[in-house]
Every structure is written in structure tokens, then in C-alpha cells.
Symmetry: C2
């Protein structure tokens, strides 16, 4: 993830694990208090284990980075906390990766963020995923055009976000909407498909979303679909919103969500448009597990075995030379005999054993044994590092 | 740090941010309670933000990994918490890197851990550091030989650890030691120098420490010195102990400490010998800053600039192709004109600008501008990825 993000020109940022509760209630409303780990410390200060990292990043931006060249592209990885009953794929402590592109507001900047999310989901090895992209401006306009007052819009969108149509309908009626308008709005939340579904709409938000889709297409982003039902409940989203779902075990699981938003003014800064997303590690790992994915472990290229006590220092000299060239090497630390060492080398899945024997050492050689095939050959110690470099022993 | 650790055959391990307070008091005694962030959660459970990660790792080992092949080589990176007045280089939340080699007890395993610490300190870019290695067995034996009862030894060692000789002396007198023995013990804590200083000693611990030094020498570990004054206060250390100091701004600063220990039996497991260390990130960063070190940022190899709106999708197509090959690329997200884009490319220290112009595109070319020299040349789009690969644009 770090590599993907830096390839896209995002820089890592780190914020504290605990913060004042206010930071999060400003962003998400007081209801988040119930879901947070909040404490009073020994000095009587209220502190909270962060439930998410977007608010801390934007606070940091407002305090420290408003003069930096824009756009600012940052990402974070770290633990977050949620006070709730643990359930499958949802833990009280969970890792989150996220990115924020701060200070730009146009189809390119939104597409850039979606492309990064897509790239990370793809590189993580997820298979049956789809990226659903919408624009809340389309629904907002429809509600405004139907005469809904601005104060009523958030509560309607919250219900529509959760597809709670039976709850949304009376609120829309109360807001003065006709049955026809209500049906039309509900219809919009069900619009999903290729970019061509946007042809039935018009207006700024529609054009904007089409432009985002064009850039994503040029960026070769796969598994994309337009979905005007993506709303993302919270009021600070300003335009494009997106979610990544994974289809597995029959159920849909959201592993990533994001969109364009404006938060900095809530933390005392000027209004600055941003786009961001967060990916839940644990959910993603759970899905990968269910898909049968095995996390790649960096292989031990060389397990160095001294055949006798007198060879011990030489073994460390050899391991040290390999490591200095970035080749992952391990060495006998248990004074095992050769047979037991080979067994251990197998158990840690070392690719090759380097056997340091007295006889071979007389000709400045060691035996290199391929742990898979069992093939053995003598290699000059002076050529050993090069031998491993040529084997591709630099890879992670 | 991750790369170094995996090159040495250590695997990353992750443990929770909060734990039961008991885990840490078992290891470090009740006095650590005062230094910890301890809370009662909404369910009435006592929880603690971890002050260190060795106890959680050993607890995890006892619960989950006792059947794994030994030695087990693990490392961790993560935030820890300490309730105290913040001061220079000491924060309430601090990052710690550490490694534990579990299930081995001999000079090689201790040397292996010290060599990893050395490699990390060296790669971090620290300059004026020294690694001080001692063996508490030497002092313990001297105290036992002088007739001190086992129960008295920890309190004496704690004072000697802090060089509080005036406090240590009356305890040693009370323990029945002669003035001569006391002077001798205090003398030992001042023994420091090359491995030859060990020639004045004898016994198992001396021989063991000499063997550690031999392996470290074979492993080309630099800036090493024997220091029998390294004691590391805590009772669970069993043999070799070491610290890494940095000499800067006139003061000495410890950035790393560790040693061989036995903890698993305290968490309900069998007695298993281990060696480990922890490095404080913040202290290390502070030292690096004082040494004038600048953290290397991964360079943006290509900043792609569309000269007009019509070139915008092509610009994303190009950025996407570069990124797919792992080349760090950025692209105009602000619709700036060429001059302003070049200025921004400069401000983010991009190595090259890729200018996508209408005229060049007719011949399927783009202009590549070296941002340092200002040299420009036309490159075929089909050859662009290869061009950047050849420039070494894969590096981090």
C-alpha cells in the first residue's frame, strides 16, 4: 500500500492515536461519541482513541500545512478504535489505510483518488470487487428542484443512503414533495450500470461525473460502475462519492469508501476542497482469507549452516556479507547438526542452504543446496554474493 | 527498518494497542502503573495503552506460538504510550521498533540480535553512535562470591545501573560485603573498552561475552565496545545486555537498549530464553535532526503536464502507464498553465516533467524535461516507460 501510494505521489503522514473527542464530533456529529473509546486521563483531560484519521489529517493541514503547494497528497496507515460489540471483520481496534488529496476540486482530482484506491485494492489481491461511483449533487439537485428546503436534505439522504425507503418516504412527503418526485428520487438511488446510464440525466453534477469516468477510463481503472445510490450519509461530502465492494460468500462487503468533501472550515481554516478514502485492513484481510489468498512472505534466500563449531564465525561472516547486499539470510543459532539444520531451513521455507564445511573451506568454497530440488554445488565464497544476486535473491 | 529486519530473517508481528495492565506489571513490577495510561472502559474493564511491546509479544508467543520451529525471529513497529511530562525526545505517544529472538540462548543468538540493532542504527543514518555490550552475569557472580544473598542482588544492580554509587554502597554494606569487594564491584561497572578489557576477568559469563564479541567481529559490526556498566535495571535480564548511545550536542543519548531475558514463564509458559531490543523512533529522529540529517523522500520521477484541456486524458493515460511499472508519477490536478505547472513540479521536487502537447502528439511524442538542468527532448510515448526505467526511475 505504501509503495502504491508513493507511486501516485502521495506522502505518508502520521497523527496521534489519541485526540480530543471534539475533533470527531465536529466532523461526524455527537452520535459518534457512543462509538468512541473516550476517557479522562490522570490530569482530568478528556481524550479519545481516534475512530478514524481523516479529521486528524485535516486538522493537521489547517494548523500546519495551509501554505504548502497544492494539491497536497497524503496517506496514512494506522490503528483506529471503535467501541462496539466485535463481529466478523469488525474489531474494536482496526487498521485503516487512507489517502487525502487536499486543495483541488475537479474531475481529475477525484479520479486520481479513485484510481489510487483501485490500484491498492487490485494490488492487495482482491478479486471479485467493484468500484461504485456516484455524485450526491445529482440527488441534491433533484430534491432542491422538488422544493425541499436545505435543512431537510441531510435527513432524507441519510435514509436513502441506507436504502430505508419506507423511512425516507414520509420525510419527503413532509418536505412537500409530490408522489411523482418521491418515486423519481428513489428511482435515482437505484440507477447503476456503465457510464451510459448518465445519459438520462443532465446538469453540472452529471457532466462532472462523466468527466470523472473519462479520466478513470484513460487511467485503465477496472471493475468500475456508476451507482447513483452511493450517498455516504455524512453531510460534509460535496460531490463525487465512491465505495468498493467485494462480492464473496454470497454477501457484499464494503472494504473502502470515500469521496470529495470540505472539512477544513470546521476546524477553523478556510474552505478547502478535498477528496479522500479509507480502506479497512481487517475487512480486506478477511475477504482475502475467504478468497483463499496467502500473504506473500519474504523468502529467506540463504540459510547458512556451519558444519562444526570452528566454522561458526565464518558462517556469520557469510550471512553478514549477503545481508549487506540486501539478500535475506539466516544462520544457525541453535548449534544444530547438519540434518536438523536442513530440517529447520525447510520449516522456515529457506530457498537455499549454504553449508560451510572444513574441507570445502580449504579451497575457499561453500556448498549451496537448493532446498526444493536438493541439488548441491560448490561455490567460491568470493562469488557467493554475486551467485545469490543472479538467483534473484534481492526480491521481496 | 522493516527491510533490514526481514533481511536478517525476522518476521513482522502486530499486537493490540491496549492490553490489561497486569501484562506489564508482571514484567516490570507495579511501579510501571504510574507511568501508564490506564483506564476503565464503558464495560468496566481495566485497559491500558501499552507502554512497550516485549511483554505483548512474549504473551502472544506463550499463547499461540510455542509449537513453532525455534528460534522464532520477530519484529514489531508501533506506537507506545507513557504517562509523564513530555520533554525533548520523550513524548506521551512514541513509536517503537523492536525485535525478539525467542528460544535460543547462546553467543550466536545474542550476537545476531545485536547485529540487527547495529544494522538498523547504521541504516537509519546515525553517525556518532556506539554500541556498548556487557554481561550482567559478571557482576552477579561477583556479588554472589562476596556473599550477597540472591534477594539483595536486584536492588544493588538497580542502583549500579544508574551509577548511583552513594546509594549502592550502603546496600552492599548491609548485604555483608567488605569495603574491598564493594570497590571491586563498583570498579567493574566502570570497565569499558575493547574486548581486551575482558582479559582481567574469568568465568563462564566472561567467556560467553568474548564469544559474542567474536561473532560480532565476524559480522563486521562497527562502533562496538565492551562496557560492564551496562546493567539495564530489570530483573528479567539473564545475561548479555547492550545499549546504543549517540554522542551529540555534547550529551549522550540512548536510542536503543536490549539483552537476553526470560519472561515466558511469567505468562504461564515454560521457561524460554530470548534476546531482544527496542529502538525509540522519536529519540532517534531527534538525534538525526540534530545531526542535520534529511529524511530521504521518494522522488516523483515524472510530473505529467497536459498543455491543454484536450490533452488531459492522454496525460492520465501516460501517468497510469508509468505507475503500472512502479515509476512514481504525478499529474496536473489543478488545470494550471505550463509555467505554473513547471513551478509546482519544482516545488514537489519532481525529477522530470512530461509535457503532453498537441503538436508532439501528432507524431506520438511527448517532451521530457529534466527539471534540474532544464534540458528537453522528445520521447515517443511507446518508449516512455522504458525511458524512465533506464533513468533508474524505479528507485525509492
Amino acid at each position: 500500500m505504501r509503495l502504491q501510494a508513493s507511486t501516485f505521489g502521495f506522502r505518508e503522514i502520521s497523527t496521534p492515536i489519541f485526540e480530543h473527542a471534539e475533533l470527531f464530533t465536529i466532523k461526524s456529529g455527537p452520535s459518534i461519541l457512543e462509538e468512541m473509546y473516550a476517557f479522562t486521563d490522570k490530569g482530568g483531560r478528556d481524550i479519545t482513541l481516534r475512530p478514524e484519521i481523516t479529521a486528524p489529517v485535516i486538522r493537521f493541514f489547517v494548523n500546519e500545512l495551509t501554505d504548502a503547494p497544492r494539491p497536497l497528497k497524503v496517506f496514512y496507515i494506522g490503528p483506529c478504535f471503535r467501541y462496539e460489540r466485535p463481529q466478523s471483520g469488525r474489531f474494536r481496534e482496526f487498521f485503516q489505510f487512507g489517502a487525502e488529496l487536499i486543495g483541488a476540486q475537479n474531475p481529475e482530482s477525484d479520479a486520481e483518488v479513485i484510481a489510487l484506491a483501485a490500484s491498492i485494492v487490485e494490488k492487495a489481491g482482491l478479486k471479485d470487487y467493484r468500484i461504485r461511483v456516484g455524485h450526491i449533487g445529482i440527488l441534491r439537485k433533484k430534491l432542491r428542484d422538488a422544493g425541499v428546503s436545505p435543512e431537510m436534505i441531510p435527513s432524507i439522504l441519510q435514509k436513502l443512503d441506507k436504502k430505508l425507503y419506507d423511512d425516507a418516504r414520509p420525510i419527503m412527503e413532509q418536505a412537500g414533495m409530490s408522489d411523482g418526485s418521491i418515486d423519481e428520487v428513489i428511482g435515482i438511488t437505484k440507477v447503476t450500470g456503465t457510464v451510459s446510464v448518465l445519459e438520462d440525466f443532465e446538469g453540472e453534477s452529471r457532466d462532472y461525473l462523466q468527466d470523472v469516468a473519462k479520466i478513470l477510463d484513460a487511467s485503465h481503472v477496472k471493475n468500475l460502475r456508476i451507482d447513483l445510490g452511493v450517498i455516504r450519509g455524512l453531510d460534509y461530502y460535496t460531490g463525487v462519492v465512491f465505495e468498493v465492494d467485494v462480492l464473496n460468500l454470497g454477501a457484499e462487503k464494503q472494504v473502502c469508501g470515500g469521496g470529495s468533501y470540505s472539512l477544513s472550515e470546521l476546524f477553523g481554516g478556510e474552505r478547502v476542497f478535498s477528496t479522500g478514502f479509507a480502506i479497512g485492513f481487517d475487512r480486506t484481510l478477511l475477504v482475502l482469507e475467504e478468497e483463499g489468498f496467502k500473504a506473500p512472505r519474504r523468502a529467506i534466500e540463504a540459510y547458512v549452516i556451519p558444519v562444526s563449531e570452528r566454522m561458526r564465525e565464518k558462517a556469520f561472516e557469510i550471512a553478514s556479507a549477503l545481508r549487506a547486499r540486501g539478500i535475506a539470510a539466516d544462520v544457525d543459532l541453535m548449534r544444530r547438526n547438519l540434518a536438523k539444520n536442513l530440517k529447520y531451513a525447510n520449516s522456515i521455507k529457506a530457498r537455499r542452504a549454504v553449508i560451510v564445511g572444513e574441507k570445502e573451506l580449504e579451497t575457499r568454497c561453500v556448498i549451496v543446496r537448493d532446498m526444493e530440488t536438493g541439488d548441491q554445488r560448490a561455490v567460491k565464497i568470493d562469488d557467493l554474493v554475486e551467485f545469490f544476486v543472479k538467483c534473484g535473491g534481492n526480491g521481496v
